[in-house]
Amino acid sequence: MFGPLIAKPGSSRKNKTGSWRIESRPKFLKKDCIACRMCVVICPEGCISGKEKNTFDCDLAFCKGCGNCAYICPKKDIEMVSEEPEAATKNKKE
């Protein structure tokens, strides 16, 4: 039997792509944030969220560490920091 393959909407969430990060991850400094939401808008994974100033953060379970949020931030309030070994292992276990 070959029929159409139907997948549940948004079921890709079970792929924890955060384990792909090899070098660095974004660190949200939460000091100068003006809640412009540019990081939310341009994240290729769509894994950054936040409401008020200085509340934005990314879901490291999905973040692939591309660094575009740090590039786009007009206040330089996001920096890429070296991937800590324990953070990488934690994501893999999830």
């Binding site: 969430r13 792929n15 792509t17 939401r37 808008v41 994974e45 692939k64 575009n68």
Partner: protein, 298 residues
């Protein structure tokens, strides 16, 4: 923009880190909103968003073949019209540059010619990235790809980029625009505007590919911006056949765009080839009047 709404393209998709197409696809679907049906061509976007048996899409989405997203969308649009539901539901057909400019061109042309109420979005990453960076009709001049390799007898792709926006425009459709991931509000405004117009619409979005263009994943937006500001990717908007808007630039030298990409690295040993690319940019600047008023064009 409804900032608190759930994104309609979920995380967990398998795009490469820094994928420009992943950014653009989410921006397009979020601008279109939840009452949207998407027909997708084969390509990176189809593969990375729907790794079997999962889907990253939060809306009805269908993939059939490489060449027929416009035809599938035409059927969806006709069915919605028959059911009297077309007024409330957007239909989008989308694909990459290969699926749009080469393989799917006939189906797109049919869709545009029949006057169907569909938005076609072409995500232009300038080669067949999904299968290993083969040259497409939208690959730019002198780009090094696996089927247009730079070497002793050529500097890469010998042909210029196919003028897809003009080809779409020649069908006499009400709306044609180009956009880029580098200018987010402009891209989302164009999607919303296109969907508010009845009839066939064509939007081409420039999306850097870190893998195929060989640049660092963190440079996606910087490179997309440089493509516009050098004049190599004009951001233009046509309504009912007239050019109603262009993004004005203070032209930068094309080297600013070429230098960070591996696919153009070979050109830096051959300045006369870079000169040819500068000529393409200058032509664009003149043709579309891209230079800001107080800036002399190069």
């Amino acid at each position: 923009m409804n900032s608190e709404k759930k994104p309609l393209l979920a995380p967990g998709h398998t795009a490469c880190a820094g994928c420009g197409q992943a950014i653009a696809a989410r921006l397009v679907v979020d601008a279109a909103g939840p009452n949207t049906i998407i027909a997708n061509s084969t390509g990176c976007l189809e593969v990375f968003t729907t790794k079997y048996p999962e889907s990253a899409w939060e809306i009805p989405w269908i993939h059939s073949l490489f060449e027929n997203s416009a035809a599938v969308a035409s059927g969806i649009e006709a069915a919605l019209r028959y059911l009297g539901k077309k007024e409330t539901i957007n239909v989008i057909a989308q694909g990459g540059d290969g699926g749009s400019a080469d393989i799917g061109l006939q189906a797109i042309s049919g869709m545009l010619e029949r006057g169907q109420d569909i938005l076609y979005v072409c995500y232009d990453n300038e080669a067949y990235m999904n299968t290993g960076v083969q040259r497409s009709g939208l690959t730019p001049f002198n780009s090094n790809t696996s089927t247009s390799p730079a070497g002793s007898v050529s500097y890469g792709n010998i042909r210029p980029k196919k003028p897809m926006p003009e080809i779409a425009l020649a069908h006499g459709i009400p709306y044609v625009a180009t956009a880029t991931v580098a200018f987010v509000p402009d891209l989302q405004r164009k999607v919303k505007k296109a969907l508010s117009i009845r009839g066939p619409k064509y939007i081409q979005v420039h999306v850097p590919c870190p893998l195929g263009w060989r640049h660092g994943p963190e440079l996606t937006l910087e490179i997309a911006k440089a493509a516009v500001e050098t004049g190599l990717y004009p951001i233009i908007e046509y309504e009912n056949g007239s050019l109603i808007g262009v993004r004005k630039i203070t032209p930068r030298p094309v080297e600013d765009y070429l230098k960070s990409q591996g696919r153009f690295r070979h050109l830096f040993k051959n300045p006369e080839e870079i000169k040819k690319i500068q000529d393409i940019a200058n032509n664009n600047i003149q043709k579309y009047g891209l230079a800001a008023a107080n800036q002399p064009s190069q």
